[in-house]
């Protein structure tokens, strides 16, 4: 646990120092912010997806609930997103609780499909409720000038400390949940639910706590996404490919159930996306996503436990010399 905290603090510091060296309104810092946001998303997903192997393909639901809650409160009543964020997190946790009633006893692909459907249901609700959400046209946050109180800035660079803060909190929560009593329980559930029950683990309660924490942290990422982009619509925050699958993908590419996995996964996935779209998008249609797919398949084939599994291997090489 102590080592995890030190790693998290070191990573946060490195990100902030690196951010300081970049032009605060430039393209590079924007990409860095997207990497950190993606890492938040992957790390939140990792809490249940990684530790308990409950593969959710519906985390966009919580991301979107966070984004819409804080934005609607802001647009309608001028409420600061600092207050909207806990409300969005609470609402997402409640939705996770509701969702768990029909899905908790489902396993593997059945659980994944049920969560996928839930994410889609949220997208459809947001699309067909224009009086509340702005409907398919989306919703925008009015820019009132640089303000910490309203959590909005002209340059991407100012968002970095907030994003790094959320990534640190999410990572600490992950570290807490993966160590100690909860860590034993979640891993036992991942490996064999019946045996876990028989060993005295209240599997439904543990999964429920995990899901609610994961949903709340995902919602917080959604709030920051809304503040960062100033505009979004149901298709962007409730996107299956863009959010739900991406959350799982980032954790899987980086290393499911590991602390460093989602950070590495986010870095790799976002950088590949950006590089490919910068260099390949003006070539034949589909070359960029095709290459992206090939790279991901290669990573999963060569490193089935994720890119984070390279780290101990490297340390091993160093130790031998």
């Amino acid at each position: 646990m102590k080592r995890s905290i030190i790693s998290i603090a070191a990573l946060a510091l490195a990100l902030l120092v690196f951010g300081e060296m970049l032009n605060p309104t430039g393209y590079a810092i924007r990409v860095l912010c997207l990497v950190v946001l993606a890492a938040c998303l992957g790390q939140s997903w990792n809490i249940v997806g990684g530790l308990a192997n409950q593969i959710s393909l519906g985390h966009a639901a919580f991301f979107g609930i966070g984004a819409y809650t804080s934005t609607i409160l802001q647009v309608r009543w001028g409420l600061s997103p600092w207050l909207g964020m806990p409300m969005g997190m609470l609402l997402a946790a409640l939705m996770a609780l509701l969702l768990s009633i029909p899905t908790m006893r489902l396993k593997g692909p059945y659980f994944a499909l049920a969560t996928l459907a839930f994410g889609e249901a949220c997208r459809i609700v947001a699309t067909s409720w224009p009086s509340m959400t702005g409907g398919p046209q989306g919703i925008s946050i009015p820019f009132l000038g640089n303000s910490w109180a309203m959590l909005q800035f002209r340059g991407a660079g100012s968002y970095l400390p907030v994003l790094v803060g959320l990534l640190s909190v999410t990572s600490i929560v992950f570290a807490l949940m993966s160590s100690g009593r909860m860590g034993y329980y979640l891993r036992a559930i991942r490996e064999n639910e019946d045996a876990a029950e028989m060993a005295g683990v209240n599997t439904l309660k543990v999964k429920l706590i995990g899901s609610m924490v994961s949903a709340a942290l995902t919602a917080a990422a959604g709030v920051l996404f809304a503040q960062f982009t100033f505009f979004f619509d149901p298709d962007s925050v409730f996107s299956v490919a863009g959010i739900s699958i991406r959350a799982a993908l980032i954790a899987i590419v980086g290393g499911v159930g590991t602390l460093t996995g989602p950070v590495i996964g986010a870095l790799v996935v976002v950088l590949i996306e950006e590089v490919l779209s910068a260099y390949l998008s003006n070539r034949a249609a589909g070359v960029a996503p095709f290459t992206f797919g090939v790279v991901l398949i290669l990573i999963v084939l060569l490193r089935p436990r994720g890119l984070a599994s390279i780290l101990p291997a490297l340390r091993g090489v160093g130790a031998k010399q």
Binding site: R187, A188, D194, A196, A199, G200, V201
Partner: protein, 242 residues
Amino acid sequence: MTQLRVSGLSVRFGGLSALSDVSFAVDAGEIIGLIGPNGAGKTTLFSTLVGLQKPTAGQVFLDGRRLDGARPHVVAKAGMTKTFQNTALFPDMTLVENVTTAALLRHPLHEAQRVAHECLERVGLGNVANAQADDLTFPQKALGEVARALATRPRVLLLDEVMAALTPLEMDSVMATLRDLRATTNLTLIVVEHHMRAIMKLSERLLVLNFGRLIADGEPSKVARDEQVIKAYLGSEHAQVA
């Protein structure tokens, strides 16, 4: 003093009756053998007792507390747990982590780790405590199951074929451990085992299931002469032993 009372327990899967109207009572500290031909309902009975399988009818009382329909972790907390027939250790955890998970039921983490080591010593697995569960041999896994079950501090322990893969020597040592546990903690044991030698040696009372019905309940020597039991086993290798 009756510790476990089972009355009218039935489990039906659609048209199939896996258990019909099974009733028996067990005193604290008894060692009971549960036998019967393949498919007689032994594992179903265990699963139903611990809450992994919901009964269609009937009741289960542990020390007067009604437990039928309760979830397995509630039954474990109440003091009854079982091992899994083909072993179900958490494969990606070390053996001691497996046992610690169960010890957490009644202890804070640091103490649970100590209890886990104790339980492993008890079944003779102290030397492989830090091995990955998946890397253990089958007999080690079976004994690991016993250690994990013991870590929940059960008063009634249901053992489902833990001796299946053991050598006669290992079997004797497990039986000695189980008797010792009974002597020191008054643990009640219900044992399913295909090795007739082991079951006859270990148990003081036999329950015999056939087609989901309890057809005999009594001292091993008497049960072995029971006409219905001999009939149920006729033609199988066990008939000669019995």
